[in-house]
């Protein structure tokens, strides 16, 4: 690995009696890194520590070799796109992005120019002067992304940027992230589902219950995960027929009817299954309203690692 962009040494973070991050040591380098873990795994805490929003209870956090809390200028090298809907609702998208550009040290004119460019790249020019409160979730995510990259940071951190985003916005966001990574920006993207990040990430860090579960290349983590049946939960009109149809696929291990409209499919090759799904669903004319990845997948990997599967 090149010189690490992020370095954590034996970092623990407690909130009173809750242990959010437990003795985590790792280094993250350039490229796009996925931070994967179920809810309450410690992802947001990890990102809070790296962006200087949180102070570790013990241990050492370094970003570009500096302390992101004590060293104010280093935060100018970091772009952060937080999770959630919080924005100043009274602002329009353009003001939101350009004002945060000014807060990052840009002059007014430069902030305006860069905002125009960033919003254009994310195809938000038309909606730029509408109040943010009128934006869809995808549009909000895009202006949040724009504000995080307005000052050309060396490290871009995105907390669940694809959560709840429509397919078109998802495509625009991932395209933009790939472009930034190609321009030598280190990108960290958190998600609670590994396969949500698809082929976007180069490296993956897996967190579970505040502990570092594994880290490495996507393929190695996928191989690790694929050794265990991976559950995909479908909500659809005819779960029995969908279950039996999917059982014919070579990658599917089993199916389990959970309720009148829910079926769990277990597979050892999720990537293969995901690639086959559109055709199977279309040919069977299934009305699939929701597709989810229960967190149990990561729990299974965790148990596998902890209970002697290494």
């Amino acid at each position: 690995m090149n010189e690490p962009i992020i370095e954590l040494k034996r970092v623990t973070k407690r909130y009173k009696s809750v242990l959010a991050l437990n003795d985590v040591s790792l280094e993250i380098g350039p490229g796009i890194t996925g931070l994967i873990g179920p809810n309450a795994a410690g992802k947001t805490t990890f990102l809070g520590l790296v962006t200087g929003l949180l102070k570790p209870s013990t241990g050492l956090v370094r970003v570009l070799g500096r302390d992101p809390i004590a060293d104010t200028p280093v935060r100018g090298q970091i772009g952060f796109c937080p999770d959630g809907e919080a924005v100043w609702d009274w602002m329009d998208g353009f003001t939101f992005v350009s004002w945060l550009g000014i807060c990052s040290g840009l002059g007014k004119k430069e902030a305006r120019q860069r905002t125009e460019k960033a919003l254009e790249e994310l195809e938000m020019t038309e909606a730029a002067y509408r109040p943010v409160r009128e934006y869809s979730k995808g549009m909000r995510q895009k202006v949040k992304l724009a504000q995080s990259m307005i000052h050309n940071p060396r490290l871009l951190i995105l907390d669940e940027p694809l959560n709840g985003v429509d397919p078109l916005s998802r495509h625009q966001i991932t395209t933009q992230l790939r472009k930034l990574a190609a321009e030598d920006t280190a990108v960290i993207v958190s998600s609670h589902v590994l396969h949500e990040l698809g082929d976007l990430v180069d490296e993956v860090v897996l967190l579970l219950r505040g502990r570092l579960l594994a880290s490495g290349s996507v393929s190695s983590i996928r191989d690790l995960m694929d050794e265990h049946p991976h559950t995909v939960r479908f909500t659809c009109d005819d779960p029995r027929r969908l279950g039996s149809t999917l059982l014919k696929e070579a990658s599917v291990v089993s199916s389990e009817i959970r309720s009148d409209d829910i079926v769990d499919i277990r597979t050892r090759a999720p990537v293969e299954l995901y690639s086959r799904l559109p055709e199977v669903i279309a040919s069977g004319q299934f009305d699939v309203t929701e597709m989810a990845n229960p967190d149990a997948n990561l729990e299974a990997v965790f148990r596998y690692l902890v209970e002697g599967g290494k």
């Binding site: 795994a41 809070g48 935060r75 924005v87 100043w88 807060c103």
Partner: protein, 258 residues
Amino acid sequence: MSQMFQTAGLMTVHFFRDVIRSRKTLFLGLLTLIVVGITILTHYAMANQGVPPGYGALMYAGCFSFLLPFTALFYAIAAISDEFETGTAVYLFSRPLQRHGIFIGRWLSAVLTVFVLVSVVNITAWISGGDVGFSFLLRGEAAIFLGAAAYVSLFAVISSITHRPLAVGLLVIFFWESVVAQIPFDIHVLTIKYHAVSMAGSGLPLGAETSVPLAQGMFGELFQESPHVAAVVLSGLTLIFTTVSAFRYVRTQAHRGE
């Protein structure tokens, strides 16, 4: 240091742009207008009875008893807690901004907003109250500014140490600042109101032509502190409360995690 003042300037502009559109300002603006209306009505109602209330009585009732602490409470909460409550603090705290600068900018904006609102009532009271010199108006304005600074700082401390700053703040206004101030044995020196009123009202003529028994009763025992001492005490309280709240604010973790 210059970076801190730059940050403070940015935050001041942002705070004004934020609060000017808020429901809080709409509500407190209306409240200010109501107090202005009551001040004018009181003047005319009492003038009809042959005892026009003086500037001191109108100022005491309109500014110091209610509006000053009340607006200070709301704007102190807006300055200190709101960004954390709404989740927008992460945008500020993850930027290369000096956290002390963020605090100073927001604190100063809150003080100025309170000062402007309460000054409207004070000027109305001075015009309605009649024949007292311009110097008393200026002293009233100075007392409002220092009182606003002390109150905002006190409520900033409360906002930084409790999750229910509004409830605790209201308790301070309606219990400590009002009821406790009436208890004998000089306990009232522990209230901000005592010092603010002392600073504004000391030397105000209490004759029938400019004041009323209300003012004499209320101010009679309160006017024991010279305006200079009152100014020093208010400044001291502001310094102490601001230091504590700034320390707490800078240490606040903008992100409380999952």
